[in-house]
């Protein structure tokens, strides 16, 4: 019988049924971080439980670590050090592999898991972090859970689950210049709503998806949690296997017929199908306080919930482009990989950000990305442009009570959430692609990256 990729992975992992009729699904990899993983480890220890297979559980310090050079366990967040030292001790006690603060492979969980070859096609991988869906780009079933579920996965090697529905999102055609995977996922959320994927696993398909490199595929899958989907995934292909070859935790070869079977069959049926013409995707920027409050950079702000307009300080009918900004942030598990930094640096090269920008940061997604960027001289381009160059971590993707943006800032950010207060109390966030962040930092106002990548803008009909 024809099956979707999701169904194949699910069936491979179904250990059995629970008496209540749920499925018991085997979990191949668990990844923890110091912010929510620490709670799972603590509870596990308190309950006197142990990790079933420590070789398949990993942890990293990424969320609240300091990103200033010369860092140690100290953080700018009050009490932050406790999360770090407790996580370290708990990982040691549980005998799980930890990517520590100054490990050479440290970085944001969803950046380093692929870098290390920990996520692989056909695996199930969970983490108490909503953006675990990023790793679905490899054709793995990778999804975010809570701390209790993380403990459950570590202790039993399984999760109790209800089978989700399936959705396929096809991007046909080709993207235009100055537009990237971030704009694709923002387009999907803007058109179908922040709850549009609820109850579904989303498979991305179509020529425009096949044309993406692995890093862009990760960006695309990263924000399906903002679409309320359980997760997203992309069938693995030559690009996927090429990326993984030689990675520390990856197998030596991908010749097993299993790998070739990891695709939806031609006749496979999805519960829901969406098709988007990639050539209609424009650079997207959020105007409000939900990722669904997003429009093309050259568009006008629609009428949304009054609360969102009040918080962001922009009214319906006005233009987003040209709105003055005070800060810029390049980083996060959405857009902090080497290709993201290259595209931003290309726009910033030999230029200087607007004098009105009070804070501009580049936070590489991992120390690997950082070293690679330095080898290519990107750090010098960012520094000359006026951006601070940081150690890797989540940094100001979210505000933990330590470092923040200057009070009252309006910031353009390559992150994934524009919630009220996400980047600090009162901070107004506009999420966008790295290209748009770079262009806006130069302009000192929300700007269309197509004006900076020297391509003719589409003539409006």
């Amino acid at each position: 019988m024809s099956q979707t990729l999701f169904e194949k992975i699910w069936d491979t992992h179904e250990v059995g049924q629970t008496p209540g009729g749920a499925s018991l699904i085997a979990v191949d990899r668990v990844f923890l971080h110091e912010r929510t993983g620490a709670s799972a480890l603590k509870r596990m220890a308190e309950m006197g439980r142990t990790v079933r297979d420590p070789s398949r559980v990993f942890a990293v310090m990424d969320h609240i670590v300091d990103t200033r050079p010369g860092r140690g366990d100290g953080t700018l967040m009050k009490g932050g050090e406790g999360f770090i030292t407790e996580t370290r001790a708990a990982c040691r006690a549980a005998r799980i592999t930890l990517f520590d603060v100054n490990d050479r492979d440290q970085g944001i969980v969803h950046v380093i898991s692929p870098e290390q070859g920990i996520v692989l096609p056909g695996l199930t991988l969970v983490a108490p972090d909503s953006h675990t869906c990023t790793q679905g780009a490899f054709g793995a079933l990778a999804w975010g859970i809570g701390s209790s579920e993380a403990e459950h996965a570590m202790v039993t090697g399984t999760l109790r689950m209800e089978r989700p529905r399936t959705m396929r999102v096809r991007f046909t055609g080709a993207l235009k210049a100055g537009v990237s995977a971030k704009d694709m996922i923002l387009t999907l959320i803007a058109r179908y709503g922040a709850g549009g994927g609820a109850g579904h696993v989303v498979e991305f398909a179509g020529e425009a998806v096949r044309a993406l490199d692995m890093e862009a595929r990760m960006t695309l899958c990263n924000m399906v949690t903002e679409f309320s989907a359980m997760t997203g995934l992309i069938a693995p292909d030559a690009v996927t296997f090429e990326y993984l070859k030689g990675r520390p935790y990856a197998p030596a070869a991908f010749e097993d017929p299993y790998w070739a079977s990891l695709r939806s069959d031609n006749e496979a049926m999805f519960d829901r199908e969406i098709e988007i013409d990639a050539s209609t995707v424009a650079p997207m920027v959020s105007w409000g306080t939900s990722p669904e409050h997003t429009i093309a950079v050259d568009g006008r702000i629609p009428q949304g919930p009054q609360r969102a307009h009040d918080y962001i300080g922009l009214s319906a009918g006005s233009r987003l482009a040209g709105t003055p900004i005070d800060a810029a942030f390049l980083g996060s598990c959405t857009n902090s990989r080497i290709s993201d930094l290259r595209r931003a640096a290309r726009i910033l090269k030999d230029k200087r950000i607007a004098p009105s920008i009070r804070k501009a940061l580049v936070v590489p997604g991992s120390l690997h990305v950082k070293r690679q960027a330095e080898a290519e001289g990107l750090d010098a381009i960012f520094a000359a442009a006026g951006f601070e160059w940081r150690m890797s971590g989540c940094s100001l993707c979210f505000y933990a009570g330590g470092e923040g943006f200057p009070e009252g800032s309006r910031t353009v950010s390559s992150t994934n959430r524009n919630f009220e207060g996400r980047q600090g109390p009162g901070i107004r966030t506009h999420i966008a692609s790295p290209e748009t962040v770079a262009a806006s930092a130069l302009a000192g106002a929300i700007a269309d990256p197509r004006d900076y990548v020297r391509v003719p803008k589409e003539v409006a009909a």
């Binding site: 250990v15 009729g21 018991l24 191949d28 398949r56 990517f99 809570g146 403990e151 922040a194 609820a198």
Partner: protein, 213 residues
């Protein structure tokens, strides 16, 4: 933790906003330790206080109004609990005394976190949620009903989740009763997908070495 106290009667505090995210339910800066306690005071801090540091209450926020203070039921908007996976959001609600949230829809991770902590997520159509918000309602888990005045709304819930909530069952303990089944599945899987299984390196403190700069 305790089973869901069915039937549960109380006023449904109206927080009828779509896409209420877990950063708002419990801001990161209110998560001060790796434990599950001490979170109730920071619950909804950005909306509940005009000055979160001084804990100055915002009189416009439902839970600061006499009739809803200490509410055990919240009526929310669509996609309730979206955003960060932080279970702290549910721990904060539970510690405050919230035992049920009624909304048009829930974000999936939040929904799972509710069940694991015996907070009942009730999904009802928008019109029903809007109509009952602010009023006294009774939730009967066994009958799967929400009663509001002379209106009775039926809701659906997975059989397993219902049993977990009703009996206050610990999911890990339950799954461990199926350990033999998991063990035999694992040995069969090892033969099929050997590449999934890694060698324990035994060091396990730090992955590679120090000084990554």
């Amino acid at each position: 933790m305790t089973a869901f106290p069915s039937p549960l009667t109380g006023r449904a505090a109206p927080i009828l906003i779509d896409n209420v995210d877990t950063d708002t339910i419990i801001p990161s800066r209110e998560m001060r330790s790796t434990g599950r306690n001490g979170l109730a005071e920071g619950m909804f801090a950005p909306w509940r206080y005009t000055d979160a540091d001084a804990r100055t209450e915002n009189p416009d926020f439902a839970l600061n109004q006499t009739e809803y203070r200490g509410a055990c039921i919240i009526a929310g908007g669509a996609n309730f609990g979206c955003g960060s996976s932080r279970e702290h959001a549910v721990w904060a609600l539970a510690e405050y005394g919230v035992r049920a949230v009624i909304a048009e829809s829930f974000a999936p991770i939040f929904h799972g976190n509710c069940i694991r902590n015996f907070v009942l997520p009730v999904t009802l159509p928008r019109e029903a949620v809007n109509a009952l918000a602010g009023d006294e309602v009774t939730i009967d888990l066994a009958a799967q009903t929400v009663t509001h005045g002379d209106m009775v709304h039926l809701f659906t819930i997975d059989a397993e989740a219902k049993q977990m909530l009703a009996e206050g069952l610990d999911a890990i303990d339950l799954t461990l009763t199926q350990s033999a089944q998991i063990d035999s599945w694992t040995s069969a899987d090892r033969a099929l997908r050997s590449w999934v299984y890694l060698q324990q390196d035994g060091k396990s403190l730090s992955h590679a070495g120090s000084d990554g700069a």
